[in-house]
């Protein structure tokens, strides 16, 4: 992959939070993002997969420049966002926009669709009032909303249509990257299909790249070009979609696949899933973070932190992945 095709590149990205342990008990450090590296090409989709507490949302907050990473580099078109000054970050921010999971919560109920769509342009002082209005109407057309929806309020729309409004709003500033945090998991199956189609259409038309956070592996399989699997702040496995779905190498990825319900299979035939639940990000686990739930853990996993390494088409952080 050439340098120029990379839109986003994370190198050993770290984000720690200091957390009070209680009155007079000092603080502890939560390693929400603990050395994650990946690249995302222009106009492609990288899906980030993992369970609660794995650091998906923390990653989204770094990429959208809402927070500053503790360490590491985050390059947007070759410019380091992590160490950028305020002015540069302000200039870069419009290029990365976000779509949230719940369109019932992410749209201000007191503003009309038109006002919601024009707000990003007002904030960035783009265009005249008239131009902003024309642009909002044009965008509504693109996402399948009708002109007469311009003056309506979010509560007058169904969940699927609200998500269209949220997508339209995210695209108003011509971003090159959209971070979509579980954009269809609150929607019904038939509506999910409509929204996924819309996202793919818009990607084709505008060449937008998606950082697509999801837990539904079937959705990921449909929409992603590459997949990044995270567990407790670390990237445990990543690679092109075809390779990872054909033969996942990390025991955690394998457990996720086995746990995902499938049509045409009885639960008994589902195979091994991971026991217990993801540990709290507050717990410090020596060695490999997954070893407490891993069916293949050996002594070495308790001591050594597995470094990500290339096996075939995939990058895997597991001592036993090549056995």
């Amino acid at each position: 992959m050439s340098e120029s095709s990379r839109l986003l590149e994370a190198r050993d990205l770290v984000r720690h939070y200091r957390l009070s342990k209680g009155f007079m008990r000092g603080t502890t450090v939560v390693r929400a993002l603990d050395g994650v590296s990946f690249t995302l090409e222009h106009g492609r989709t990288l899906a980030v997969v993992g369970e609660s507490g794995c650091g998906k949302s923390t990653l989204a907050r770094q990429v959208t420049m809402i927070e500053t990473p503790t360490a590491g580099e985050l390059l947007l078109d070759g410019q380091d966002v992590a160490h950028a000054d305020r002015a540069l970050r302000a200039r870069l921010r419009p290029q990365v926009q976000m779509v949230f999971q719940n369109p019932y919560a992410s749209l201000n109920p007191r503003r009309t669709v038109g006002a919601l769509l024009e707000e990003p342009l007002e904030i960035h002082r783009r265009g005249t009032r008239r131009e902003r209005r024309d642009r909002a109407l044009a965008m509504m057309d693109k996402v399948g909303l009708r002109r007469e929806h311009y003056g309506r309020y979010p509560h007058m729309f169904s969940g699927g249509q609200r998500q269209r409004i949220a997508v339209a709003r995210a695209l108003m500033l011509d971003p090159r990257l959209v971070v979509a945090d579980e954009p269809t998991s609150a929607l019904d199956v038939s509506i999910q299909a409509q929204v996924l189609n819309l996202l793919l259409d818009l990607q084709q038309e505008f060449g937008i790249a998606y950082l697509f956070i999801a837990h539904n592996l079937q959705v990921v399989r449909h929409i992603a070009d590459a997949v990044l699997v995270m567990y407790l702040g670390k990237a445990v496995e990543q690679g092109q979609k075809e390779a990872i779905f054909a033969r996942p190498l990390h025991p955690y990825t394998q457990a996720l696949f086995a746990s995902t319900p499938k049509l045409g299979r009885s639960r008994r035939a589902a195979g091994a899933t991971a026991p217990s639940e993801p540990p709290s990000p507050l717990d410090t686990i020596s060695g490999c973070a997954f070893r407490t739930r891993c069916p293949r853990a050996i002594d070495r996993c308790v001591v050594d932190v597995p470094a990500p390494r290339r096996i075939g088409a995939l990058t895997v952080a597991c001592h036993r992945a090549d056995e």
Partner: protein, 352 residues
Amino acid sequence: MSASAATGSSINRAGASTMGQSIAAAEVEAAPLLDIVDLHVEFGTLQRPVRAVDGIDLSIAPAEVVGLVGESGSGKSVTALALLDLVEAPGRVRAKRMVFGGRDLLTAPVDERRAIAGRDIAMIFQDPLASLDPCYTVGYQLDEALRLHGNERERASTSVRRDRALELLRHVEIADPRARLRAYPHQLSGGMAQRVMIATAIAGRPQLLIADEPTTALDVTVQAQVLALLMRLRSELRMAVLLITHDLAVVAETADRVIVMYAGQVMEMGPVPQLFETPRHPYTRALLDALPEHNVGRARLRTIRGVVPGAFDRPAGCLLAPRCEFATELCVAERPALAGDTTRAVRCHFPL
């Protein structure tokens, strides 16, 4: 359909057993545990009623797992609430028949119905942390369930209840149950909270557990564990489960039989896996076609055009007609009846 509903589950069980599922011979003969015919739930005024549930039949055999699937607003949850007598005024519930465990729920006095709800028919919900009281410990809430729904010995003695609470927590596979009794809900993870909810639900030894989206809020590995737990409890306690969900794959993996609802009516019902392999209603087929796993190699997912009908624009004919790719003039003019036998039924003029 409704005329033969009483024998419905036995035929169905016989059909299911040939599919290699483990059903004891005695069960095949058993009368249905729950038998509802023509259930209606309406809200709003009498002049302009909102039909949340519009004439559904539901019969569940002992220890059977029935999946109730449908999109938001299809009436899945309202059906369950009607069963527990939890539909509040101005909501109105009526049915031709509503029998549970040999008792007629329509004529039962209020206190008898209240005794059945919670004890013989228990329910768990999507968000376990919202269902547990944050101000009381797990132990207190289990004790409360046993005080209300336990057997005579449990209702009489604190120490018996305490032992049983521990046993219940062990039953739902909670590690270190003694310590967990003193925990407050906020100290539990989502999966553990759902296990505690299940423990309180089975405290009264229910014959039917209604699980309304029990794993939707959980991570996939935890979802798999909770579903496995429910299936284990079903066979150990011989407890029927009504699994309400919008996740077709969850139903495909766990249910014996599926009922597909749309806008308050049953569109299709049938055993798993036949219903998923050869859907006969265009709606079932369209739902399955919209799943990403059924669109491998396609650039675009197949969708269902339009939206679910609202409260006041219900089509006069088939409820799906405005969205159905096969709809004809007949479909627009006349609503089809649910036709078929008790194993397999479909509400469509032109089934696939």
